[in-house]
Each structure stands twice: as structure tokens, then as C-alpha cells.
């Protein structure tokens, strides 16, 4: 026997109570890990690949369009290496629940700007040459089992075609790599020709890649200055900042997550702390017996504290493991909406740190009481 086996035996003293506490801790840490990943996706999910990119949007609102002509004017600037235009398309595939991001883009320039989104030369050539073609992210194609050459019908709710139809048909040219999950890119020229009314010769926003990443601020000033007095002034930001602004439209995700987690962990602290105090009260004569046998006050206190720590760290480890198992499914469902969704080692370590803190808070009072326990009083109260 060792002190570890004594600790283990104490944890299993009341299996139902320990199991329920363990499960509640595990659920709390699943929530923590997932909310942390969502918060990260909203607030800091831009990869290093986006450091040299700027997003040029309407100064008035993200929902206002910009003239298509801006593409050539910005491309002509020395500060800008390449620029591409993108628009919001929306719609859904077969059923409303099958919605994902769909952007009309310029196939000639898009993959020059988003270089991290790998695409094969054959697929790109096909996408460029066939105006009704589309390319899907690998995750999206896998989700619906699409193969190159398949016809993809997208039902629209914003942009009708000149023919009056709300159904748009695209031929899948192939797939491309996209860390953000589900994304469909269609030919802007085809969209621009087919659409009627609002949206024609307009783009949603532009994304430019600057020649020198150190000159991003200068490029932003030049672009915004160029259109300052026009009817469609621009507001340019780095891609990182743009995503933060976009996320902030939904509210401060970090603060919301933080408040939810605070409520969860405060409740867990009270419930588990109460359970730990009850467990301690039941064990007073045993702890007194251990002290009688010669176990020092510090060792008895450490044993009580170690039990609380072991329970919290065990629950957290289980919670983190469950969250990691859930990640692929959530990535497939949320990735397209909020960008790159993924657990990090950092958030796992944060969770373990929080578990340790929780264990210390829960175990502190019983441990201190165990340390102060006088043998004679404890045995007399029996």
C-alpha cells in the first residue's frame, strides 16, 4: 500500500457521489474547452497567412457593396501586389438547413491572394475556363459527397437570375484546401451576368495582398484616401481586424463565453465545495486516527487537498478528452460560420490550470480543517 492507494480508496469511498461530482466537472470542462475554442475562432483565428492581407469594405456598412471598378484602381497601386473581389451569395443546397458560405469570386486573382488555400493546377484551370463552374472546399465536398463534374443546385433567396429563376446551377470543377471548413466559390463573371437589379457590377468587398507586409498601414491610408470623397468611400483594415469587427457584430463573444463559464464554475465551486465539506465531516474520526498513528498534520492536510485536486484534474482531463473527440463534428458544422474552429494545447493547459485552481479552492477549507484537527477533540466527538 502507498499514500496514493489510500487517496484512491478515499475517492472511491462513495462511488455514486464521486461519479456524479466527476461527471459534473467533466461537463463543465467540456463546456470550457469548447467555448474557449469558439472564442478563439472569433477573436484570434486568423493565421499567419493573413498577415499581409487587407480587407477593403464600404465605409458605411459591411452590407453595402462597392463598385466593381475599384478592383482595377486598387490593383494599379504600387503598394498592392494583388487584389481580388468577393461578394456574399448565400442560398442553400437542396434544403434550407444545408446552408454554407458561398462567394462569387474572380478565379484569376482569388488564389493569388489566398495562397494558403491550395488548389491543383487542373482544377484551377477548369474553374477559370468554365463560367458556370464552382470549386468547393474539401470539407464541403466531403460533407455532401460531391465529385468533379457534379451539378450543384443552389437555391437563392437574395439574387434572382435575369430569367426569373431563383435556382442557380453550378458545375463542380474540383476542390481546394480551406482550413475554415465549408466554403463554395463561384465565378463572379457568371454571377454578374446572370443577376438582375441590385448587385450587378458591384462587389461585396475586396481583399488585397500588399507588396510589403511592413507597409500595410501605408497601403490602407492610400486606398481609403483614394476613395474618401467618392460616393462609395472605403474602410480598409487588416484581415485580422476585419474578422474581429465582424465577430463583434454578434456581441463580445469572449465576454459572453467568459460570463457563461464564470456562472458554470461558480456553481461547480459551490456544489463541489459543499460535497467536499460533507465528505470531510464524515471522515473526521478517521483523520484523527491517522494523526494518532503518527501522521503529521501537514501530511493529513496534504492527503485531503490531494483528493480534491485529483478529482478536479481527473474531471478536467475527461472533459478535455471529450471535447477533443467532439471537435471534428463541431468543426464540420461550425467551421464555415465562424472560421477556423479547433482546440489548442493552450486551451487544454488553461483548462488544467483552472482545474488545479478549482481543486485548491475546494480542498483548501477541508485541508486546513484537517491540519487544525486536534486528536482528542475529534475522538471525543465520536
Amino acid at each position: 500500500m502507498s499514500l496514493f492507494s489510500l487517496l484512491w480508496a478515499n475517492l472511491l469511498r462513495k462511488p455514486t457521489r464521486t461519479s456524479l461530482t466527476f461527471v459534473s466537472l467533466a461537463i463543465a470542462f467540456v463546456l470550457f474547452t469548447l467555448l474557449q475554442a469558439i472564442s478563439d475562432a472569433f477573436s484570434g483565428g486568423v493565421s499567419l497567412a493573413g498577415m499581409d492581407r487587407i480587407v477593403i469594405d464600404s465605409k458605411y456598412s459591411m452590407t453595402d457593396n462597392l463598385p466593381l471598378a475599384y478592383v482595377q484602381r486598387i490593383r494599379a497601386l504600387d503598394e498592392v501586389d494583388q487584389v481580388t473581389n468577393m461578394s456574399w451569395f448565400g442560398g442553400y443546397y437542396r434544403e434550407p438547413r444545408n446552408s454554407f458560405a458561398t462567394y462569387p469570386v474572380d478565379p484569376e486573382s482569388y488564389f493569388d491572394v489566398f495562397r494558403e488555400q491550395g488548389i491543383s493546377a487542373d482544377t484551377l484551370a477548369r474553374f477559370r475556363s468554365v463560367r458556370v463552374s464552382a470549386v468547393a472546399s474539401e470539407a464541403l465536398a466531403a460533407q455532401y459527397g460531391w465529385q468533379p463534374g457534379d451539378t450543384i443546385p443552389i437555391v437563392q433567396d437574395i439574387f434572382p437570375q435575369a430569367s426569373g429563376s431563383w435556382s442557380w446551377q453550378f458545375e463542380l470543377a474540383g476542390t481546394f484546401q480551406y482550413a475554415g471548413g465549408e466554403l463554395l466559390l463561384i465565378h463572379y463573371d457568371y454571377f454578374n451576368e446572370a443577376v438582375v437589379g441590385w448587385g450587378k457590377d458591384q462587389v461585396g468587398w475586396l481583399v488585397g495582398r500588399v507588396a510589403d507586409p511592413r507597409e500595410v498601414d501605408a497601403a490602407i491610408r492610400t486606398i481609403d484616401g483614394m476613395f474618401e470623397n467618392s460616393s462609395d468611400p472605403t474602410r480598409s483594415t487588416t484581415e485580422d481586424e476585419y474578422r474581429r469587427q465582424f465577430a463583434s457584430q454578434l456581441g463580445d463573444i469572449g465576454a459572453i463565453s467568459g460570463m457563461i463559464l464564470m456562472a458554470v464554475f461558480f456553481t461547480i465551486l459551490l456544489l463541489t465545495g459543499n460535497t467536499a465539506s460533507q465528505a470531510f465531516a464524515e471522515r473526521v474520526p478517521e483523520l484523527a486516527a491517522m494523526k494518532t498513528l503518527g501522521f503529521p498534520d501537514g501530511s493529513v492536510a496534504a492527503l485531503v487537498l490531494a483528493e480534491a485536486l485529483a478529482l478536479c484534474l481527473g474531471g478536467a482531463t475527461a472533459g478535455i478528452a471529450i471535447a477533443w473527440l467532439l471537435e471534428p463534428g463541431l468543426e464540420a458544422n461550425l467551421g464555415g460560420m465562424i472560421g477556423s474552429f479547433g482546440m489548442s494545447w493552450g486551451s487544454a493547459l488553461q483548462a488544467l490550470g483552472l482545474a488545479a485552481l478549482l481543486g485548491l479552492l475546494i480542498g483548501a477549507y477541508p485541508a486546513l480543517s484537517a491540519k487544525r484537527l486536534t486528536i482528542v477533540d475529534a475522538l471525543r466527538e465520536r
Binding site: M1, L6, R13, L293, F295, P296, I375, V376
Partner: protein, 234 residues
């Protein structure tokens, strides 16, 4: 025989609210090594308090207590704990076994404080259980044993680190007569065959008869001694 326990002018007071209660009053006591002494007296006479002081579980308000050459009244709590682990075995009325551990592990528990290897600890615990006649019950948890068997496990736990002194507080108080007789016989055997010094608090005159010497306490004082080997001066 050398003197194992010496108490000189020992007093113990407790605070009860604003009031101070004297539980022990100027107790002088001498117990020789290798003797079996019973401590009797009515409830509240201070016999358990005296036993706790002799076992190093409590400290006196004044006076000197020396056991096996160590002045218990002047050592700190840490050293006192180490001394208890090495020198004293305790047997209580309600056994005070850890219910989550089986008999073997309960007996092994005090050996965690020694430098013995795991296999040595296991071997010694098994031997102690054999001595008390429970060699085949090592895997049983306290809840699966009778009261008498639990008290035997407690005695094995008290013995396992080979202390020079066993202090027993009403060891038969929770047992029926037949089982109590078995436990008292076991204590006598330990005294006779292993030469253990035993100090036992009891209410039961039949239990006290098993001891070599009987001391009587009343109102915090030692009032009589039934033998010259254990000397008490009130």
C-alpha cells in the same frame, strides 16, 4: 525493571466557555517497563485524559510527563507525532479503523511512516494479523468483520511497528462478554509473550482483573494503587 512512564505533578485544565475545568490535578504516576496496568474510575474522573497524555495525544497544562526517556511535555507537535509512530500503539473502544481499507492495509498504515519497503510492510502487517489470529482475513474490509475481529485488527495495527507501549482506551467497551474475554486474553498474551507494556482504561472490573496492577482515579486524582509495581501517589 526500568521505569517506562513517569508523570510528575501533572495537571490538565480545559476551558468550557468562560469556565476552566480541572480534569487532572497534581497526578504523580510511575509505570515500569513490561507491566500491564489497568486504570479505573467513574466517568469524568480523568482516566482517558491521563491515557491521552501518556500516549502523546495531548499535552498537560502543567507538570512533567516522561515516557521511554522522552519529555512529552516539552516536545513540539511534529516530534510528538514521530514519537507516537515509533513508540506507542493505540487501541480504542470504537476501533477507529479506516473503512475504505481492508484489514491488511489498515495494519500496514502506520508502516507508511517508516523506511520499510513495500514488501517488508506487507510481510510485517501479515505477521501482525497472524499474531492476533486473523491471518486469513487480510482482504476483508472492517465492515465485513465482527466487532471482535475489528478490535483484533486494531490491536494488530497497534503492534505492527513494535512499539514499547500499548495504550488501550476501553478496548472491550463495545463488545459482548465472550468477545471481550477473547480480546483481554489476547492483550494478556501480548504482555506475557512479547513483553509489551500495556496501560488500559476500563470501567469493567473483570477487565481490570486481567491486568497486573490496577490504579483508581476519582475527580482528577489517582486515589489508590493495587500494587507496588505501578506506583501512584495522589
Amino acid at each position: 525493571m526500568r521505569e517506562l512512564i513517569r508523570c510528575t505533578n501533572v495537571c490538565k485544565d480545559y476551558a468550557r466557555g468562560a469556565e476552566r475545568v480541572s480534569v487532572l490535578r497534581n497526578v504523580d504516576l510511575s509505570v515500569r517497563d513490561g507491566t500491564f496496568t489497568a486504570l479505573m474510575g467513574p466517568s469524568g474522573s480523568g482516566k482517558t485524559t491521563l491515557l491521552n497524555l501518556i500516549g502523546g495525544l495531548d499535552s498537560p497544562t502543567s507538570g512533567e510527563i516522561e515516557v521511554d526517556g522522552l519529555r512529552l511535555d516539552s516536545v513540539n507537535a511534529g516530534n510528538l507525532a514521530r514519537w507516537r509512530a515509533r513508540s506507542v500503539g493505540f487501541v480504542f473502544q470504537f476501533y477507529n479503523l479506516l473503512p475504505v481499507l481492508n484489514a491488511q492495509r489498515n495494519v500496514e498504515l502506520p508502516l507508511l511512516l517508516t523506511g520499510l519497503s513495500r514488501s517488508e510492510r506487507r510481510k510485517n502487517a501479515g505477521l501482525a494479523l497472524e499474531i492476533v489470529g486473523l491471518g486469513d482475513r487480510g482482504k476483508h474490509k472492517p465492515g465485513e468483520l465482527s466487532g471482535g475481529q475489528q478490535q483484533r485488527v486494531a490491536i494488530a495495527r497497534a503492534l505492527v511497528s513494535d512499539p514499547c507501549l500499548l495504550v488501550c482506551d476501553e478496548p472491550t467497551g463495545d463488545l459482548d462478554r465472550a468477545t471481550a474475554d477473547e480480546i483481554l486474553t489476547l492483550l494478556q498474551t501480548l504482555h506475557w509473550e512479547l513483553g509489551k507494556t500495556i496501560v488500559m482504561v476500563t470501567h469493567d472490573p473483570r477487565a481490570a482483573d486481567r491486568a497486573e496492577h490496577t490504579l483508581h482515579m476519582d475527580k482528577g486524582r489517582l486515589v489508590s494503587s493495587a500494587s507496588g509495581t505501578a506506583e501512584a501517589v495522589a
